[in-house]
């Protein structure tokens, strides 16, 4: 039973991780939380579903179009909700509020367009029959989910640490004004940051919808809180931190159900969350940054 529970936790955690990384990327580079991220996550899954079902396009093609859409929504969010507010007296708060509004609008659009009922992908889109390996029951899609998540987080880490664009991102993260004086196009960096974060959010949405075979306009609601918890646990703005935080929450959820009671699940997560805030407020991987200088 423990092997099964660990497997449950790892698969669930890997989707949380991929989702949380999108939050962390935007926060780490631009210092702002994008609360429309959960709506973009939902739109990734929703668009893939809609394109497959309504336009009868092969699933891989639909995924590519849906991810392009999710990335475009991210760029649009930055353009509408973040860029005009840069340098605003309440620069910390106003983009946050703007992103909440964009999230609500995106969710409302999905409700309008596709209705409130949850939907499934057509029967032959993905293999659904479970297999049992060494007492652990998994679906064929689950190893794929895990590998995709790990590969994408690793690729993102490489991009930030090892490429010249990654260097520009880190320069903007360190100080936007100085980076701009050094000839870095901060607007472009912001756009690309949102593009990448939203692409990852879209992938997480599609993976989650594949794992549970469901798409609905509310699917971003629960993961939003899990993602925020993950980035605080891991350390605000740290990519590896967000990934580890996401995985940790997936495992904590499952293990609290397995060894305590299911009614304690959310309590356990938030007790751990609270303990981290008290004992190590910068999170597991976070470096302490003094906002005063």
């Amino acid at each position: 039973m423990l092997e099964q529970q660990l497997a449950n936790g790892i698969f669930q955690g890997s989707v949380y991780a991929l989702f949380a990384v999108g939050y962390a990327l935007v926060f780490g580079i631009l210092g702002a939380l994008n609360l429309a991220h959960a709506a973009i996550f939902m739109w990734g899954a929703m668009a893939a579903w809609a394109i497959v079902t309504l336009a009868n396009v092969p699933f891989p093609v639909a995924i590519v179009i849906a991810l392009a859409l999710a990335a475009a929504l991210g760029v649009l969010t930055e353009l509408i909700g973040f860029r005009p507010l840069r340098g605003h007296p309440l620069a910390e708060l106003s983009p946050l509020i703007a992103s909440i509004a964009i999230g609500v609008i995106l969710q409302g659009l999905a409700l309008r367009a596709f209705g409130a009922d949850p939907m499934r992908l057509p029967a032959d889109t993905i293999p659904r029959d479970p297999v049992t390996l060494a007492g652990v029951t998994i679906t064929p899609i689950q190893p794929f989910i895990l590998m995709t998540s790990v590969a994408l987080v690793a690729a993102l880490h490489y991009m930030i640490r090892r490429t010249s664009f990654g260097r520009q991102m880190r320069a903007v993260a360190a100080d936007q004004r100085t980076a701009a004086m050094l000839g870095i196009d901060a607007d472009r960096v912001a756009s690309v940051t949102f593009l990448v974060a939203s692409f990852l959010g879209g992938v997480a949405g599609i993976l989650l919808s594949l794992n549970f075979d469901v798409v609905s306009w509310t699917m971003g609601d629960q993961i939003q809180l899990k993602g925020l918890t993950a980035i605080v646990l891991g350390g605000m703005g740290s990519i590896p931190g967000a990934a580890v935080g996401g995985l940790l929450i997936g495992l904590l959820e499952v293990l609290s159900v397995a060894f305590l009671t299911s009614q304690m699940r959310d309590a356990v997560i938030f007790v751990v969350f609270f303990a981290v805030l008290l004992l190590r407020p910068r999170g597991i991987f976070g470096r302490w940054v003094n906002p005063a200088g």
Binding site: M1, Q4, Q5, N8, G9, Q12, W43, A47, A50, I51, L54, A55, L69, A72, L73, G108, L109, L111, A113, F114, G115, A116, D117, P118, R120, A123, P130, T132, T137, T139, L208, N211, F212, D213, V214, S216, T218, M219, D221, Q222, E253, V254, V257, A258, T261, S262, Q263, R265, D266
Partner: protein, 389 residues
């Protein structure tokens, strides 16, 4: 993004046009009878009803179906030359008790409706119904199953049966069929409806002497139930009770079968919904559903299902059926009371309504609880089959 949105909008527009065009052509003319006198001779009185429904928020899936059913009922009533015309003012409660209060105030004081249908969820009703009670406006609940709702006052009625009326029969049926000795339950711990289902299931297992071996809960909006189901699987129950709304319920059925749990699964009112079968697919086969509405009996039910299907190209669920019938019940109450505006007279009229319709033979108990027969259904070959009462 643009094209699926546009395609859907275009599709909706087509449906609306089709829906408007269709009924105009079906005017039955009785053979040999004299032409019916022109209805312009005496203008029909107007019965103005308010509907407070969750069109957005977590209960939107129910609220939207209820709105469609209520509008269909008004159309069907107005097509017949019998009693007052019905107009319905629909307002969105956003699944939010505070907004439900505002909506009630508007319906009562601005629209001056004769009676109110709704709200969709019990927690909205607990907040908003006292407003109507105070203003002496009758309320007919169409999907509230909370145990204490009617204590709010003598103007609150409901056509929905509580889980306590439907679940014990289902548990009894399963015990008779399989002599089960181990039961497990999975339930939503943050929703009045699924919480009362949990209580009722535990009591029913006690009555039928089936020991409970695993008790697992989840939260609204969860997608992953494998941790709880893995616990349940390790206890090897023969019966698994699922007290969940249809969204979570469909996922639970799928994930339970995927993990290899082969217990007989039982659900309550929320599972009497074609969406469950559509969502859960093969995993819904064999599920036992204790429910208030028999969708299989011939007569008015099939006419309703047909009309709903052709108007909205989807099968109605139990809550839509209850909403549809509630409009007719209020219309009957207005006819009995011979008024379309006197709220107190309509309230008294409700207690005198006796009708045979979409819910079968229907009346209210003096307690304002509904009086009709629940049944036990089983899902077989992707359809509901009545297996007991």
């Amino acid at each position: 993004m643009l094209w699926p949105h546009r395609a859907v909008t275009a599709l909706l527009a087509m449906l609306v046009v089709a829906g408007c065009a269709a009924p105009a052509t079906t005017q039955p003319t009785p053979t040999g009878a004299a032409p019916t006198p022109s209805p312009t001779a005496t203008p029909r009185a107007e019965l103005k009803l308010g509907a407070a429904l969750a069109m957005t928020g977590f209960a939107a899936s129910f609220g939207q179906a209820q709105k469609q059913a209520i509008e269909l009922a008004a159309k069907d009533i107005n097509a017949r030359q019998d009693g007052p015309r019905v107009t319905v003012v629909v307002e969105d409660t956003a699944s939010d008790p505070r907004q439900a209060i505002t909506v009630f105030q508007k319906l009562i004081n601005v629209d001056r409706v004769a009676a109110i249908l709704g709200p969709t969820s019990t927690q909205e009703s607990e907040s908003a119904d006292p407003i109507a009670q105070q203003a002496k406006v009758p309320v007919v609940a169409i999907s509230n199953t909370g145990l204490t709702l009617l204590n709010i006052g003598d103007h609150i009625f409901r056509v929905s049966m509580s889980e306590a009326s439907v679940i014990p029969n289902a548990v009894k049926y399963v015990k008779q069929q399989s002599a089960a000795t181990r039961a497990a339950i999975i339930w939503g711990s943050d929703d009045d409806f699924t919480k009362s289902g949990h209580e009722v299931f535990l009591k029913a297992f006690g009555t039928e002497a089936i020991p409970l071996v695993s008790d697992q809960s989840f939260a609204k909006g969860d997608l992953d139930f494998t941790a709880q189901l893995t616990n349940i699987r390790s206890q090897n129950p023969q019966v698994l009770a699922v007290s969940a709304q249809v969204q979570e319920g469909a996922l639970i059925l799928q994930q339970a079968r995927r993990l290899g749990i082969n217990a007989t699964m039982i659900g309550g009112n929320a599972f009497n919904n074609p969406l469950l079968i559509q969502q859960a697919g093969a995993a819904a086969e064999g599920v036992i559903v204790g429910a208030a509405w028999d969708s299989t009996a011939p007569g008015p039910r099939q006419q309703f299902i047909e009309a709903y299907r052709s108007a909205y190209s989807a099968a109605p669920n139990q809550f839509a059926a209850q909403a549809y019938e509630a409009v007719f019940i209020l219309h009957d109450a207005a006819k009995v009371a011979q008024t379309s505006t006197d709220r107190s007279a309509i309230r008294d009229g409700l207690l005198k309504v006796r009708r045979t319709g979409v819910l079968g033979d229907f009346s209210f108990f003096p307690t304002r609880e509904p009086n009709y027969t629940p049944m036990v259904q089983q899902i077989k070959n992707g359809a509901y089959v009545v297996v007991g009462r």
